[in-house]
């Protein structure tokens, strides 16, 4: 067992974990962050995407021990002070989810996409979401939602 210290959604945690434990299993089974889900076993689906120090990672592709000393944000920590993140609002407004299973990962990836590129083209959004699979929406409304969030976040910035 290895001792790790990980801040998850603003709460610091100190846990002994098996070195082989994946970050996603640490989040779900140890920390109780079941909002982050597992959709595959080959790192293809992206359902488990979280932010590690503000950058998106597939948490099935990171060992829990690699997160030692780092900060993780999951879908559960995205809304702040009871306010939804603009990306969450955009997904709701644009009907960008149906069963919702890919949604936590999709939203976390989309947030990171806009961090890197605040004003993406449709093509850039599509390529930026390539690592996240959705079986329900056909991506049409997800792409629309990300574009809408980019718009609302940019007007927030210009108003600030």
């Amino acid at each position: 067992m290895t001792r790790i210290n990980v801040t998850v959604d603003g709460v610091s945690n100190a846990d002994d974990v098996e070195p082989r434990m994946l970050l996603v299993h640490y989040l779900r089974e140890v920390v109780g962050k079941v909002g982050t889900v597992v959709g595959c076993d080959t790192s293809n689906c992206g359902a488990c995407t979280v932010h590690l120090d503000g950058r998106s990672v597939k948490s099935c592709n990171v060992l829990a021990v690699q997160a030692d000393g780092h900060e993780v944000t999951t879908i559960e920590g995205l809304a702040t002070n009871g306010e939804l993140h603009p990306m969450q609002t955009a997904f709701h407004e644009n009907h960008a989810l149906q069963c919702g299973y890919c949604t936590p990962g999709m939203i976390m990836q989309a947030v990171d996409l806009l961090r890197e590129n605040p004003d993406p083209t449709e093509e850039e959004i599509r390529v930026g979401l390539e690592g996240n699979l959705c079986r329900c929406t056909g991506y049409h409304n997800i792409v629309k939602a990300v574009a809408a969030a980019a718009g609302s976040m940019s007007s927030e910035r210009s108003n600030a």
């Binding site: 889900v37 959709g39 595959c40 359902a47 879908i75 809304a79 299973y101 079986r135 329900c136 056909g138």
Partner: protein, 826 residues
């Protein structure tokens, strides 16, 4: 027939944002795998690596001794308690239906079958110990190819004596719904046109995003089962019917379920094994599969060979259609496995006025993963074949694909129309949907561009694909199901509870897994009872909360379940009426109900229905003999199906040098009757389209010669991503259904049913001048490139314009260009 209600609506038709979203976008969802119970144990499955093998021995000692392991069970250990996986639809009385034990003890019949189950303190420990279970197999010859299986040389189940499970026929002459198909074909061979083709429906994996998971708590009076299922009610029935547990002792809960697409309408070995083991140990148990396990053990879809014979007059007027279907069931006849291809019986004739029709369906057992419903279930397969062959007819006659359809389709003034397959189509307007689609698509401009590219010898050719489809929704009238020997009815149930404080609980027997029932049902009830949308709570998916139901599949929830809702609401109003009259001191006959208010005609006296709910709760002042409740239940059994339709148009650019196809534009105009929530409908269409497009272009479950699924993970089973897809133009025409009050028709499967042939027709259209008339799905760049190369070589040898091949007696397809595809042995 039900008259469509024309009362004013304020909620129906509104693009309400979904009530479901809040928990899903914030990660506060209750997926089955999220559930933790005190003392819960975890299961891992040991699965067969062989397609067909005898189990000689299973060594469990080492696994049992591993850290954290509580028990290891084999099929022999569970023999008395594991129940059996049921087939609910034997399509013929003599159907060959091999017994399907959740954990077999003697023989496995496909790769991925469970042979032992390890129970441990954690999922990781269980999985570690599963590696230590030592199974000794004797490999048996496996039959993997559908056509090989028909020869009965190698048997999927030696005891059965044959691989042929059942043969089912619909013949229009015998049924009295049309003419003699052989006569019409013979005539066409003399003086008309006969087109013969064989199409392949490749095997697909439903690939819902949430892997299946089951949690069982056996510690209470009732066994409580949470499962990622589309069918909690059917599961409860199957458990009670086969596991020796009284139905009243079984509670099944489908919490938030992450997609299904038919893939979760099964009652599964994993569920049965988890229940049996939890009961044996008296401890809560959880089993959650890995994606790799989903791929080999959850049922697959499609997998047919479709031999089509279409007869027409020289001018393209169709005279007969004969369909010979070979359908792979996989290793076992799944819950509706045999019935899925049979659903095509009423769909191959589609929107066209064939005077004679015959549908023959042979279901076949092989040593592959079992096959059952996948989005559309029987209808996409049928639509694909008929829409592909109608394009072939157009090419033969030398007219535009739209023109050949116009010549043969049912016109809007002919509804209701009884087809050659004996179905009565409720309503529709193919002309209107097509006209709208052509305009949105810019069909004429694209045809002009295609001509330019052809003339200039552009290396990137443009193809236009047409699919004018219909489908049957609203499964299903119970009497029809009974006549087909289906093991259950097709009704749906709803209850409405009028709470004292003015809000309303709606209980639905339909069980959503992403469709947005909570939102749409709220809209319907809000309108019907005149109460705010926000004040309606929709409850579902738990057999204790929603005790009656037949669940969600086959585009049935709204058409059948929605009508149950309407009827329950109307009963509430009827029950409230005498109470309203009493409180208003008026006669019942003088009351009117509108927008939530009972008013006395010609006066300003009135009372709201929520006030009556409170007065009923208090029950201080009710009329004599009236029970203190205005709650109501309704169970609706449809009299007929509904028949949505639409026109889908697809433009594909095909690079003739690389074989790469790129979608340029996709337009669909769907007529799904009345739309409750346009936002939800668009979502269903988009998602459906991409699943259908994915069959045309990317997906296919491929086995090697040992019977191993080589596309057994998301690395190899290529689901489309955002980068592979485009935005879609989706519009509607509205021909309200006449089979339910709301006029709805169903939309869950429409996109998937329509889009596959639109895409393949477009690719073939791009390449037709090269002499290509088929590409087998998925139309990968490799297959397209090979088709172009082969066709080029053939054209160099001899022109084949007059070669109209025919099937010889019992011979496979002789169409030369069909030989351009590989993968025939898949």
């Amino acid at each position: 027939m039900t008259a469509v209600d024309d009362r004013p609506t304020t909620e129906v038709g509104k693009d309400r944002r979904r009530k479901e979203d809040q928990r899903l976008i914030t990660g506060r969802t209750r997926w089955t795998d999220n559930i933790q119970l005190p003392g819960m144990l975890h299961l891992a499955m040991v699965r067969s690596p062989f397609a067909h093998a005898k189990i000689l021995s299973i060594g469990t000692d080492e696994a049992k001794a591993a850290p954290g392991v509580h028990a290891v069970f084999t099929g022999a250990d569970l023999a008395d308690s594991q129940g059996v996986n049921i087939n609910a639809w034997p399509i013929t009385p003599d159907q060959v239906t091999p017994t399907h034990l959740p954990v077999p003890s003697e023989r496995v019949a496909h790769t991925g079958e469970i042979v032992a189950v390890v129970v441990a303190r954690s999922a990781a420990l269980a999985r570690d110990a599963a590696e230590l279970v030592d199974v000794d197999y004797e490999e048996l010859p496996a039959v993997l190819d559908l056509k090989e299986a028909m020869k009965d040389e190698v048997l999927a189940h030696p005891d059965a004596g044959t691989n042929k499970s059942a043969f089912w026929q619909l013949d229009s002459k015998a049924a009295g719904t049309g003419g003699d198909v052989e006569e019409a074909i013979a005539k066409a061979r003399q003086d008309g046109i006969v087109i013969e083709r064989e199409y392949r429906q490749q095997r697909l994996v439903p690939a819902f995003m949430e892997p299946r998971s089951t949690v069982v708590d056996p510690t209470g009076e009732q066994v409580v089962i949470w499962s990622a299922t589309q069918v909690p009610h059917i599961l409860r029935f199957a458990i009670a019917a086969t596991m020796g547990i009284p139905e009243s002792k079984v509670r099944v809960i489908a919490p938030d379920v992450g997609g299904g697409f038919g893939g979760k309408l099964q009652t599964t070995p994993e569920e049965f094994a988890t229940i049996a083991i939890a009961r044996k140990l008296g401890k809560p148990c959880k089993y959650t599969e890995t994606r790799s396990e989903t791929m080999v053990s959850a049922h697959h879809g499609r997998d047919q060979w479709q031999k089509m014979t279409l007869a027409a007059e020289k001018d393209g007027t169709v005279t007969a259609l004969k369909v010979d279907l070979l359908a792979d069931l996989g290793a076992y006849v799944a819950i509706v496995g045999g019935g899925v291809p049979v659903l095509g019986a009423w769909m191959f004739n589609s929107i066209y006025k064939f005077p004679a029709y015959q549908f023959n369906c042979q279901t076949v057992l092989t040593n592959k993963t079992w096959v059952d419903a996948y989005r559309g279930a029987g209808r996409p397969e049928a639509t694909y074949a008929i829409e592909r062959i109608m394009d072939e007819l157009a090419a033969e006659v030398g007219v535009d694909p739209i023109a050949i359809r116009e010549k043969n389709w049912i016109t809007h003034d002919e509804f209701p129309f009884t087809t050659v397959a004996g179905m009565t189509y409720d309503s529709g307007n193919y002309e209107a949907a097509t006209a709208k689609a052509l305009e949105l698509f810019g069909y004429d401009e694209l045809r002009a561009e295609q001509k330019r590219r052809r003339e200039s010898g552009d290396t990137v050719q443009l193809g236009l694909g047409v699919s004018t489809f219909t489908e049957m929704c609203g499964l299903a009238p119970s009497r029809v199901l009974g006549s087909l020997s289906y093991g259950a009815g097709g009704w749906e149930s709803a209850s409405i509870r009028m709470l004292a404080t003015g809000t309303v609980e709606v209980v639905s027997g339909a069980t959503p897994h992403g469709q947005g029932h909570e939102t749409a049902w709220s809209q319907i009830v809000a309108d019907r009872l005149g109460i705010p949308f926000e004040n309606v709570e929709v409850l579902h998916g738990d057999t204790q909360i929603a005790p009656k139901g037949l669940d969600t599949y086959g585009s049935r929830s709204l058409v059948v379940g929605g009508e149950a809702l309407v009827r329950a609401a109307d009963k509430v109003i009827e029950k409230a009426k005498p109470i309203a009259a009493h409180l208003l001191e008026a006669s019942v006959d003088d009351l009117e109900f509108e927008a939530g208010q009972f008013t006395v005609k010609g006066t300003d006296k009135g009372i709201g229905i929520t006030d009556i709910a409170l007065a009923t709760f208090a029950a201080h002042n009710l009329p004599d003999g009236v029970e203190p409740s205005i709650d109501a239940d309704a169970t609706f059994d449809p009299v007929d199906f509904s028949f949505p339709h639409g026109t889908h148009l697809c433009a594909m650019e095909v690079d003739t040098e690389t074989g790469q196809s790129t979608m340029r534009k996709y337009v669909c105009v769907d007529d799904i009757g009345t739309i409750i929530n346009p936002l939800i409908v668009e979502g269903q269409i988009h998602g459906g389209l991409v699943q259908g497009i994915a069959q045309a272009l990317w997906e296919g479950a491929e086995y090697d010669e040992q019977g191993t699924l080589v596309s057994g993970s998301f690395v190899d089973y290529t689901l489309p991503t955002a980068a592979d897809t485009i935005n879609y133009v989706s519009e509607h025409t509205v021909s309200p259904s006449t089979t339910n009050t709301l006029g709805t028709k169903g939309v869950g499967e429409a996109g998937t049913i329509a889009s596959t042939p639109a895409v393949v027709n477009a690719i073939v259209d791009a390449l037709r001048p090269m002499g290509i008339d088929d590409i087998q799905m998925p139309c990968t760049p490799e297959r397209v490139w090979k088709a172009i190369r082969t066709a080029g070589a053939q054209q160099d040898k001899a022109p084949t314009a007059d070669a109209q091949a025919h099937f010889g007696e019992g011979a496979p397809n002789q169409d030369p260009a069909a030989g351009t595809t590989d993968g025939a042995a898949q």
